[in-house]
């Protein structure tokens, strides 16, 4: 994968961005991803299963994440699968965060938050 490929993935939808963020801390199964996103966004992004697995399917398709052969804990459900970031996925996440960072810096300079707060 080239860097050029990675930039075509941008901008990411909130769901994809947060799934990537959740997986940046290591491999997770679907429900754990949703739980972590819920937690880190203080409940403002609460993904349903359709959104989650729809995103996962597309992210698998575009090579952002991959499935890992599971090392299950004992109480884990048979059906559960684990996912982790690919190198490409990590690259896309980095690019997106850099992009957002630039946006935030511009916004700060313009004192957007000091105004109506409507970004």
């Amino acid at each position: 994968m080239t860097q050029r490929d990675a930039s075509t993935q941008l901008p990411l939808t909130p769901a994809v961005l947060h799934i990537l963020l959740a997986l940046s801390g290591g491999e997770r199964h679907g429900y754990a991803i949703a739980g972590e996103v819920d937690e880190t966004t203080s409940g403002s992004i609460r993904m349903g299963p359709g959104t989650l697995y729809g995103s996962i399917q597309r992210m698998l398709g575009s090579g952002l994440i991959e499935e890992v052969s599971p090392k299950r804990a004992k109480d884990d459900d048979e059906r559960r699968r684990y996912y982790r970031l690919t190198t490409f996925g990590r690259r896309v996440l980095e690019l997106e965060v850099q992009r957002l960072d630039r946006v935030v810096r511009v916004a700060r300079r313009k004192h957007v938050l000091g105004d109506a707060g409507a970004l």
Partner: protein, 883 residues
Amino acid sequence: MRRPSYERVYAACLRLLPDTFRERFGGEMIDFVARRLHEARRRGVFPALVERARLAVDLVTTISREWGAEWTQTDTDMPPRDNMDIFLQDLRFGVRGLLRRPGFSIVAAVTIALGIGANTAIFSVVNAVLIRPLPYHDPDRLVLIWGTQGKTNQQGVVYADYQDWRSRTHSFSELGAFRGQSVTMTGGESPERLIGDFVSASFLRVIDLKLSQGRAFTDAETEVATKGPVAVVSYEAWQNRFGGDRAMLGKPITLNGTTFTVIGITAPHTEVPLGLPDVMVPIGYYPNAHGLDRGVRGIAVAARLKPGVSYSAAQRELSTVMSQLEQEYPATNASTGAEIISLREYLVGGVRESLLIILAAVSVVLLIACANVANLQLARGAARARELSVRAALGAGRRRLAQQLLTESVLLSLVGGALGIALALVLRKTLATLIAPQLPVNEPDIRLDVPVLIFALGISMVTGLLFGLAPAWKASRTDITEMLRSRIGGGLRHGITRSTLVVVQLALSLVLLATAGLLTRSLQALQRVNPGFDGDNLLTAQFRLPVTKYNTPEKIWEMFERTTTELRSIPGVEAAALVRASPLSQNGESYPVVLEGQQPVKVGDAPMIQINSVTPGYFATMRIPVLAGRDIAATDRADAPHVIVVNKSFAERTWPGQSALGKRIQFGSEGFWTIVGVAGDTKHYILNENQLLQGYVAHAQRPQVFTSLVVRTKGNPTDFARAVREAVWRVDRDQPIWRFKSMEQDLSGVVQSKKTMMWLTGLFALVALLVAVVGVYGVLSYTVAQRTQEVGIRIALGADAGRVRRMVIGDGLRLVGVAVVVGLALSLGAGRLLRHQLFGIPATDTLTFVAVTAVLGAVALIACYVPARRASRVDPLVALRMD
């Protein structure tokens, strides 16, 4: 622990996902949902409810998204945003957008509400009559079997034939005989007429009769040879006539002079085909003389098809049996047959077409409403072009914008739908009371039940999609840069779409106007039909003498003669007579006629003559002219030569150019009758029937226990009902009399159903025209507003007001012209579909088509004139300064 039913439903709904997605993620999704709900339940009941709703929305949007991806083979690398988020955002935008433009929202919602309300109301009727299953066990297997004779169908059945069907056919699990006939109950304070049904035990098995008390008949009890005096009373009669007597079972009741023991009471609301009897008694007691003999079509037959047997197979078997019987009994069964008709077809076959036409008309109204709201949306879309282009510039995809607009439309139509259902609820009672008497349905059965509400919801969604698609499609195709550059985006293309929608509205309105016009003209033609008698100030009623008491022709005739005398002595009565079957009462009997000296013809090929028995003075009372010869006279007694008065049509058709007087004819099995007079033609069953061949004989020479009376009164005929009843009671204190009606009521009853249909389609046409005209006005106003600058320049260059007006009106009339051409073509098609409903006019009735075109043109012209005037008053200075 709570039953995890939500999870099970969720799991079942996963089947709606495309296979690939479900196989890959289905298990994980179920696991996800179980855990999510488990957590939510710990937080409380309300959070759990909210979570369920979120999961449901998530699933629904996922299903549509995954199928979308499946079909388009796209989007697989474009991950979705949170569905719930998108949906809620669209919903918020939608609500906000609708509230921001209350004028538009109210007009649009009311337009949609009118369309959906009318459709829901009409569908509630269609559902009650055509869709809801009949109130019998396994109703699709229930059939009626009628006799046929030659080309005449739907005749009564010969009891002996019915018994042969029972023993010789294998297509039916059961066949039953029945014959509805009023019975006289005596023993109370005054004689009472009950609706009776003479039935076989097998008939009760065919309809699977449910009893609330007691037992049904045994086969032996209803057989002619072994009949037993037992009766089953309907639950309603038990409550109303017998005061809900707790000791009803085993009670004796006297019917037609015979004492029956009550052995059963039906379950409440029990339906019985062809009428709701108060009491059922064994068919062995059927009172008509020789009513069950071979050759006499005395009874009706209901049957239940065996599972797996088709109508046509049963019909083939029945026809085979009938041809065997024809060979075995040539004297009575020559050219007779039998036909099977499903009970539903028999009940609703006659009204299905009119109902579907009304439903079609009302759907056209909804279509027009859709086109109108789509036009309003487009106008708004043009005004919102900037808002949309800004959002597009900020990164909203075209599909996103289209989806947003569509959400708004569906939201709007759901609001309209809710209002429409409220409207339908308000209209229900009025509509049901108006329409139920003309349909095989009871008024309370026309209601807004679950299927009707599902229908309303369904058409609301479809409506929203219909009128939302055009604006959404526009939004998805519009070029952003062009939108930003021009002041009003895509004006020209919008113009064409909007004009097309207006043409559609006008053309459809014309179709409805033409339909209403054709039905109105047809009704007028029907009302102009001369029934052949004078219906003003004429009272009719009926009675049936009990055969046990009036068991000889002499007794019957004496009773009739005394009754006539008593009737004529009532103050205010001008004339009175008895007639077996009074016109428009739906009674009547016909026989194949044989002329003296004629070669015998096959029974089925002989012309049919309708025979009526009358007392002297009948023609004078009815004011039917006697055209030749003489009236039935008092001297035509039982022992005098048998005479008959025939109608003009019979005389002219049988002996063209000759006098019919003195000729002799035979009908039924009774000897020859000499024609002594020719009377005018009359209509007998319905006003639009082909003229029947008719013959009138003297009651004295053919006395039968059932008769009607006709009384010509000075003043309102129904005021005389009491006096007439008392006159009959002076002759026989135990004789009930019923069906007091003025002939006026019968005459208007005949045209009532046509009238209802005309009013309904007329109303729809009017609504359609209004909506369409508002559409024309809207489009022209919009064009004028858009062309203000151009008009201003024209006026500045010296164009006068008249010319500007003509220009705008010309624009409008071009639309109307196209609409008229399209509409007339469609109306000709609609006329063809209507042809069975029309009477006295062709489906291409020129007057109707010219008139409705003129109406549409005139109204459209007014709609054009207002914006035209506005255009001609444009101040060039103001117009040029704009921008």
